[in-house]
């Protein structure tokens, strides 16, 4: 007998794989833990507490599993979180406790708060406890004062330009992009001509069926331009990825989870491991949000991503550190 699973999205009026009501529901769960899976062009979402209703853990059945962490801001010590090392360690505990062990980690930037060597050292030391390889892209806090020289020395060996690169894992093509350099007055994040040319060339040889994961610090979709939450030339980058059946874009920067689906592209932002920021427009600036100490870990988190061969999109699960 099939168990009735609530909150499963079945209406797909526009035949674009998105059920608006269900999608909004999925967004509302983000931060408290949600699983969004697109199967056969239909987005299905389940709250984490309901995973057991599915009979089998859909997310755990993948062939490739990795974790995204973001915005650890090592060195930050203001009231919004006086112990960012403690919450990063909690994130590591969470990762080490996953039933389906990830193969590697992605860090989507703002590793440090002020680009100080000791801040990077502390993060490296804490992440070592996962025993996993970590792939980094810089946030604007990682390239202060030296145009990213230190970042590239530490994390960008073999990378191109300001630190962009790509690699393959089990048939999935991963692309790390840099959109925090040479920002212009009044503008948003920027990829720049040289990086866009490299991207076009990088994906040219790939089959259209290759699943693509793009990761960069600032969102590659316009979340809220008033606060600089977007990338000026991301449309060009996405144009090069149009031909692919499955594209997953993972970003950080905004210190909260958010998801959006546009055609074959799923955009996702991860929570910070350090401090939360307000929802777009819900405050007069994006300054760190102070929540009661006992609630802090519920607004920080990690993102677990699973790829199941043959499925159209990767399953993205956010879990809080609480």
């Amino acid at each position: 007998m099939t168990k009735k699973v609530k909150d499963q999205i079945l209406h797909d009026h526009n035949q674009d794989g998105i059920d608006r009501r269900g999608f909004l529901k999925c967004m509302a769960w983000a931060g408290t833990g949600a699983l969004c899976v697109m199967q056969g062009g239909v987005l299905k979402s389940y709250s984490l507490s309901r995973l057991s209703d599915l009979g089998a853990n859909a997310a755990a059945a993948g062939e490739l599993s990795f974790v995204q962490i973001s915005d650890s801001h090592m060195g930050f010590n203001k009231p919004a979180n006086p112990d960012v090392a403690g919450t990063l360690k909690a994130a590591v505990d969470k990762i080490n406790g996953l039933s389906n062990a990830p193969e590697f980690l992605l860090h989507t930037g703002d590793i440090s708060h002020l680009s100080k060597p000791e801040e990077f050292d502390t993060v490296d030391q804490i992440l070592k406890a996962t025993g996993k390889d970590v792939f980094f892209v810089p946030g604007e806090h990682d390239v202060l004062n030296d145009d990213g020289v230190q970042f590239r020395e530490r994390y960008g060996k073999g990378a191109k330009g300001a630190g962009w690169y790509s690699f393959e894992k089990k048939g999935v093509h991963f692309i790390g992009l840099v959109n925090v350099m040479n920002l212009k007055a009044g503008g948003l994040g920027a990829l720049g001509h040289e990086q866009l040319e490299w991207l076009e060339d990088d994906v040219k040889r790939l089959k259209h069926s290759t699943p693509i994961v793009v990761f960069a610090h600032i969102p590659l979709w316009t979340v809220y331009p008033e606060w600089g939450w977007g990338t000026d030339d991301s449309a060009q980058a996405l144009a090069y990825l149009k031909k692919f059946g499955s594209v997953t874009v993972l970003n950080g920067h905004i210190h909260q989870t958010m998801q959006k689906v546009e055609g074959n592209v799923t955009f996702h932002t991860a929570a910070s491991t350090a401090f939360p920021q307000p929802q777009p427009g819900k405050a007069d600036s994006p300054r760190p949000m102070k929540v009661p100490a006992e609630q802090l870990r519920s607004v920080l988190g990690i993102t677990d991503v699973n790829y199941v061969r043959g499925q159209q999109a990767l399953a993205v699960v956010d879990s809080s550190l609480a």
Partner: protein, 119 residues
């Protein structure tokens, strides 16, 4: 009649000296005021520069102080000046010697912009 003339003649240098004294005192006061006015503060608070547009005389030193709990920078659009990253309560000063309009922004949060007009 002659006597009065002499008095006037004698008094003239005294009056002149007095006038000089007063005017130089005024001159001192004026330059003291100018010295005060030649240091102007801009506060960085809540992801904005305040005042966003500042008009000063040539020779003025402008000091930016970061009051946010997030670091910011002060970078001129035309690369005339560029601060290091400013953590909370850190300051950056620049003396504007040439008249003109100097647009600037925070290179970490480029939506934050400001302008110094030097007359």
């Amino acid at each position: 009649m002659r006597r009065r003339v002499w008095i006037l003649v004698l008094a003239a240098p005294v009056v002149a000296a007095a006038v000089l004294l007063i005017s130089s005192a005024r001159g001192l006061t004026a330059s003291a005021e100018q010295a005060q006015a030649s240091n102007v503060e801009v506060k960085i608070d809540n992801f904005s520069f305040g005042p966003a547009t500042l008009t000063v005389a040539a020779g003025t030193t402008v000091t930016w102080t970061n009051r946010d709990d997030i670091p910011h920078t002060v970078v001129s659009d035309d690369k005339v000046f560029k601060s290091k990253v400013l953590d909370t309560d850190e300051k950056f000063s620049f003396t504007f010697t040439k008249p003109g309009t100097y647009g600037y922004f925070c290179s970490i949060h480029p939506k934050m912009t400001g302008k110094v007009v030097v007359q």
